[in-house]
Amino acid sequence: MLIPRPAAISIAAGLLTLTAGTAGLLLTRQSTPAMRPPPAGVATVPAPAGPVVALSAGPVVAPPAGPSGSARPVTAAGPVPVARPVSLTIPVIGVKTALTRLGLAEGGTLQVPSSATVAGWYTGSPRPGSIGSAVIAGHIDSKTGPGVFFRLPELRVGDRIYVSRADGTTVGFRVTALGTYQKDYFPTGTVYGATPDPELRLITCGGTFDDATGHYLSNTVVYAAETA
């Protein structure tokens, strides 16, 4: 018994289409994995050369010879101005980047660097090394690959961060905490609020990427305090 040619063609085409559609449906149910581990070519970098200075310049009292405990100078002067930041180095995760200057974007949100390969200092925050929390932001990725802060979530408490300034000085910081927050609940007071000592905040994206909006849903924040 022969199948008429039109029916055979229709059935064959139908079965092929059915098979292709089913295969496509099943294959695309798998999510695209995150890019891990870090890309090749990103390695640790050395800390910047030259002296790392503490903020507390001014009249300095010689350290004692006798008493126990750590000793430190005190100052009668007010806050000492520091130069603007020009570069950021985080040896343990291989970050070495120039710093652009960031302001506010429309709607009062934080302006972000135009390139994913550089970080930026928010000029509305204190300069790194002066009293208060200096804020530096950088992209975790571009549309095609890792950004300057791709490895920021790998930082751990105690890791060192260095900021070089326009006058050639460098100030060192020590990581004190990390946090990841949904952007809808971003802790503005914790990140931008007043502190009595020189601190640093590094901000990048994290958490789930929303394909519909083209944005990550969370921010990762690294907290650091100036090292003595």
């Binding site: 995150a34 009292v61 009668a76 934080l110 609020g193 990550y216």
Partner: protein
């Protein structure tokens, strides 16, 4: 009695003071000497119950205050000895304080008169009103019995942060808009002015001290600073190039499957109809037997 005249024990009362937003679990403490006599002292900070100093500030001159040091929450004692004295000698003054996480303290020697004084412990504010600056005044000159401290930022009397401040007194915080202001301290026998630029979201302490010639000076401290204009919400610092991406829409694939099913059913139906309608015509007739 010199000992303990102004000594304060901060405990429950400190909880009411404003705390920092800091993410860390530490507190901070600044130590200083605002007593003209002795003009130079050694200041020690001990963890409660310990005889080993955690921090030592040697030879602290009158009118000097240390930057804020990060310290673990808990009990501490501050002891002040004349400069160069043995660390085991009896201190001139001592005070106890309880450091709470997120709080910043100022512990200074301070005199109410030439013969009376002690250690004053203050819980600094770390929460200036948005866009404003907080300023307080410590009157640390025993030669000036009543000091008026004026800020140029406001016209008339409201510009006075404190009036008639006695030696050893600490004013409450005044809320002041940012600007390049001039502060003026006026006592019965001396007056002094100093430029004090104020930035938004900062906390300041202005200290009135005496000088060797009987005049007064203003020492300006920046106690804390934040971002003058905090950005709204989080930061858009990622475009997804390294993120895991979820599966796309089901609809295109369901449409293809539907089309395939339609083609198959159509073809099958056509075949079945032909199969049902053709048997009679296609079966050859039985040949007739011939006799």
């Amino acid at each position: 009695m010199l000992l303990g005249c102004l000594t304060l024990l901060l405990g429950i009362s400190a909880a009411a003071a404003s705390a920092s937003h800091a993410a860390t679990s530490t507190g901070w403490i600044s130590l200083g000497n605002l007593s003209a006599t002795p003009a130079s002292v050694d200041i020690y900070l001990y963890p409660a119950g310990s005889t080993s100093a955690q921090l030592t500030l040697p030879g602290v001159a009158y009118g000097t205050v240390s930057p804020a040091d990060s310290v673990a929450p808990g009990g501490y004692s501050v002891k002040i000895r004349a400069a160069g004295s043995s660390a085991s000698s009896t201190p001139i003054w001592s005070a106890s304080l309880t450091v709470q996480a997120g709080h910043s303290y100022l512990a200074v020697s301070l005199r109410t008169s030439a013969t009376q004084g002690g250690i004053k412990v203050l819980d600094n504010s770390l929460t200036p009103p948005s866009g404003k600056s907080l300023v307080r005044v410590i009157q640390a000159d025993t030669n000036q019995k009543a000091v008026t401290f004026h800020c140029s930022c406001a016209a008339g009397k409201p510009g006075d942060i404190v009036t008639g401040a006695a030696p050893g007194s600490v004013s409450s915080y005044a809320t002041i808009p940012p600007g390049p202001w001039t502060m003026t301290a006026t006592g019965p026998t001396a007056k002094s002015s100093a430029p004090v630029p104020l930035l938004a979201d900062t906390v300041h302490t202005e200290i009135v001290i005496g000088d060797a010639s009987g005049g007064v000076k203003i020492v300006s401290l920046l106690d804390a600073a934040g971002s003058g204009e905090p950005p709204a919400g989080g930061a858009g610092t990622g475009l997804g190039g390294t993120a895991p991406h979820g599966p796309g829409s089901l609809l295109p694939w369901l449409a293809i499957i539907g089309a395939g099913a339609l083609l198959t059913v159509t073809g099958g139906g056509f075949w079945l109809r032909r199969k049902v309608s053709q048997p009679a015509a296609e079966v050859p007739s039985r040949p007739t037997a011939r006799v």
